[in-house]
């Protein structure tokens, strides 16, 4: 990513709008009996597009925002989301995958990391809970829902961050005006 005040501003706006949308609307819509969680998808998309440092930082800030507005234990969401963002960013830096369905796989893994990581942290923090069938079903449904939403969220993030991303040589370019009479230059 090309670091500039504009890029940072866009990332901040993306996190703020995404975070508010999550807590005010998406959390209250149930699909398969569970609410979707856009936060890991946003963080993974930013990591995949902008790299590990941007992904981890974005994850930390979005996690802090979510924990603050929901009056949750500060630091839990930040820790989980920064791992998701860093992981997605490292995948881009090490492998640079080009397949169109990579965001889906990354979204699924990020959702899994977020929901399982969150549960593990709760157990570590002293919540005495059995791992019930209901909990496992809920975790699996959240991952499935995250997988389904991963592609549109990635496309949205890509659109927002496009001016600040390095030019991708694999991107298909518009064919140049080469045929007679169609070029705007020929009219001049």
């Amino acid at each position: 990513m090309i670091w500039s005040p504009g890029a940072v501003g866009r990332l901040a706006a993306l996190g703020l709008v995404g975070g508010i949308l999550q807590v005010t609307t998406v959390s209250q819509v149930l699909v398969f009996g569970v609410p979707a969680d856009l936060s890991p998808l946003l963080v993974a998309s930013v990591g995949l597009l902008c790299g590990s440092v941007a992904g981890a930082t974005f994850g930390f800030c979005l996690g802090l925002f979510v924990d603050t507005v929901l009056f949750q234990t500060l630091g839990v969401s930040s820790l989980v989301l920064l791992v998701a963002g860093y992981g997605a960013g490292r995948l881009r830096e090490l492998r640079d995958p080009a397949h169109g369905l990579v965001p889906v796989a990354v979204g699924a893994v990020a959702s899994a990391v977020a929901v399982v990581g969150f549960s593990v942290l709760q157990f570590l923090l002293g919540v005495e809970a059995p791992v019930s069938f209901l909990l496992i079903r809920q975790i699996l449904l959240v991952i499935v829902l995250g997988t389904l939403l991963a592609l549109p969220v990635y496309a949205l993030c890509r659109r927002v961050m496009l001016p600040y991303l390095p030019d991708d040589p694999r991107r298909r370019r518009r064919r140049a005006y080469t045929t007679g009479g169609l070029s705007p230059l020929s009219r001049a």
Partner: protein
């Protein structure tokens, strides 16, 4: 150049992880009126108008999604409600008789209801997507008379209690939150107990500490027990419906696990009421000879 980039990346990661651990440690060790909690309340207060505005603006979209789900469930729900209606008709006839008797007895005892609560209606505008935190935020706070630990209800029954209050909004801890607990009573069995969340099983409650658990049967309604001791008064009034006994696991008296399904749909909360303490006018009118009993 490459080494410098790697070092920078690792330094950023280490700094962020250290920040998270520091935040976690400080948050856990400080009291509920500590610096981080106060900052959190301040941030909540600042962001509340934005969130409430977004919540209202996006309500049509939420309702649209909800409509699809509701339509799918409607037929099943209709059949269940018809059955329930027939049962309730019989129940109403019986209760009418008991109500008349109750009024007569109250009159004899000159029962004075100075402990009436004053409901404050509030709108839910934020909720947590996590299984581990069952909290919602409402748009009424300390300036409306809302205080910590006051009960929160909706049309179906008990929803939870107030966890934290700032000037214009409050955080409500739902029945299913891991920190929640309320003294309860099974209505038909007349057995006291405590309703606790079944942590790790989202949406499930347990009726625990029941002396004679064998008397409680599936279908029995569970209500709040209210105050049983003047010394340790309960913030919940007696008789608020908590839920219905859904299933019972275990055969013995000690290893019985009574699962309770909450009466209120905690995943779809829109309007709730906080039962605030009575105002001076209400108390005065109840205390006066001509006041409402």
């Amino acid at each position: 150049m490459y080494d410098k980039q790697v070092r920078r990346r690792r330094a950023v990661l280490a700094a962020l992880v250290a920040c998270c651990i520091l935040l976690l440690t400080v948050y856990f060790t400080e009291p509920s009126n500590g610096g981080l909690h106060a900052t959190q309340r301040g941030a909540m207060e600042v962001l509340a108008p934005v969130q409430e505005g977004a919540n209202r603006a996006l309500k049509p979209f939420r309702d649209l999604f909800g409509w699809f789900g509701d339509t799918l469930d409607a037929k099943e729900e209709r059949d269940a409600l018809r059955k329930e209606r027939d049962t309730l008709r019989q129940e109403v006839a019986r209760l009418e008789l008991e109500r008349a008797e109750n009024e007569e007895l109250r009159g004899l005892l000159s029962f004075n209801r100075t402990t009436d609560y004053q409901p404050v209606t509030a709108r839910v505008y934020v909720r947590s997507p996590s299984t581990w935190y069952s909290t919602v935020q409402i748009n009424k706070g300390a300036s409306d008379g809302v205080r910590v630990n006051q009960p929160v209800v909706n049309g179906a029954g008990l929803v939870g209690k107030v966890k934290s209050v700032s000037d214009g909004n409050a955080v409500v801890m739902l029945l299913t939150d891991q920190q929640f607990g309320v003294a309860a009573q099974a209505v038909k069995a007349r057995e006291p107990g405590a309703v606790l969340p079944a942590v790790g099983a989202p949406g499930d409650l347990l009726l625990d500490l029941v002396p004679r658990a064998k008397r409680v049967k599936p279908g029995d309604q569970v209500i709040t027990a209210g105050t049983v001791s003047e010394r340790l008064s309960s913030p919940f009034p007696r008789g608020l419906l908590i839920g219905t006994v859904k299933r019972i696991e275990g055969d013995g008296e000690l290893d019985r696990t009574i699962h309770v399904e909450p009466a209120a749909d905690l995943r779809r909360l829109d309007i709730v009421q906080v039962l605030t303490r009575p105002t001076a006018e209400l108390t005065a009118s109840a205390a006066s000879p001509g006041g409402t009993p």
